[in-house]
Symmetry: C2
Subunit: 298 residues, 2 copies
Amino acid sequence: MKSLVDCIHCYLKQAVSCMEMINVPDEKKVEVLYSLMDFIKTLEPSASPAYNSSLVLLKTYEFINNSDPYYEAKKSSNKLALELYPKLKEKVSRASDALYEALKASVAGNVIDLGIQRDFNIDKELEHAFDFGFWIDDYPLLREKIERGKNVVVIGDNAGEIVFDKILVEILNEIGKSVYYIVKAGPVLNDATKEDAEEVSMSKIANVIESGAALLGIPKDFVSEQVKNLISTADVIISKGQANFETVDDFEDVQANVFYLLKIKCEYLAKKLKFKQGSLVLINGEKLKERKEKYLLK
Amino acid sequence: MKSLVDCIHCYLKQAVSCMEMINVPDEKKVEVLYSLMDFIKTLEPSASPAYNSSLVLLKTYEFINNSDPYYEAKKSSNKLALELYPKLKEKVSRASDALYEALKASVAGNVIDLGIQRDFNIDKELEHAFDFGFWIDDYPLLREKIERGKNVVVIGDNAGEIVFDKILVEILNEIGKSVYYIVKAGPVLNDATKEDAEEVSMSKIANVIESGAALLGIPKDFVSEQVKNLISTADVIISKGQANFETVDDFEDVQANVFYLLKIKCEYLAKKLKFKQGSLVLINGEKLKERKEKYLLK
């Protein structure tokens, strides 16, 4: 998906958030923003927001001389989510359709995103996810595909969120599916890496695979051959969060098997694609493709 | 008030909003944003957000070759507000404390701001203003100052909003006060100018005075001597909206007579000053000064 004009100021906003993570002094923040402005001009406008954001973030890391400013934030997100896990797990297990409730728990985890929004209220978000469910809900189709398939690929998103995804993976295991869980190959924003997967014991219940790139999302040109094969041959792909939402469309041929599970956080993208901002969606790739062709591509 | 680090990306966001007003094509928008990035680097970081925003906006006007991109938006804001006027006026007149209700109507009008937030819901905002009132409420002090004083200066903000201010001015007239209403000397954002004041007949009930500058807020170094004198000698000054909030503190000596009436729209400023974002406030200048000294100045 191509970047929007409004992404440009958001790259800088994200850089400020990033620098606040490690308390960079204001004068230095301004200096870095000015340097980033020159860097932003070198970006390819037709690249995805996720890809361009990644480049701006990694450039920020260079400027502030820190290879993982979100390290502590990721640790505390995992810790917080692990505390919430037992109660959530119980709630999901008790449900008449545990898979459906597990998807809701997983999407609620998507709010734990320190990249753009700096504050979040987990309890409120969980309540909202369970009470209101999905604004677009392709669950019947997903359920059917999962029942017929063997392998499910979950494309992970953030640290913290990965704990909520565990509940989903456990339910998938219980109904006899083997799960591949994709994490980032290196630190970028607060995205889950192999270290997070081990910390929260995701590695014990899923085949944890690194994306092959320390970039947000799954940009086809940059991820490993293994990941490309995995996505191209999976029976079902569950794509978490916005950066994956912006890049998994690179895999055009398999959109029928892709289900995007996320909270629509970006006001501009929401407006362009006629999504309700802040809503939770579980949308099949084909339907998203139609939406993009109708509203986005020109 | 000094600009914040987060103002930097907001200047660009505001420029995008501005260009959307007259449907500048996306390619041109990007070109303008890149040029603005160089311009932003020349700004004085210790200047107020309102002043720096003004310079960025006026530079945007140059780049897009349009001296008043908000012209149509201002017209339609005035029109919309004039339609709401009779019902509101009646509601205020019926109240047991009409002055207090008029201040609420006036602050509700502050939501009509197309500069940063592109969408607004007037009915909801009006309901909120009347039902919840002010999060900080220095009305008793304001009432006392008004009763003791003769001249009230209202520092206006946006087009549309100026209609809601009319109700306030009419109530002030009814209790025997003469009102000076300050508008901008030229088009900047959607701020009210003399043309707006005439269009909505503010000129018939108040002495409408131009600020002396086509700049947001009332930056002391740039407004006319007349306006400086007016503010320095007024018994009561009611300052509407955020740009005035950011600049009227230039007039240090008269803060005891200033009352800031606005909706706190900026999330960063809200966080810095420990205001609840989105809340309506009626705060005396001395109290605001204390708040700034406690949380902002370092």
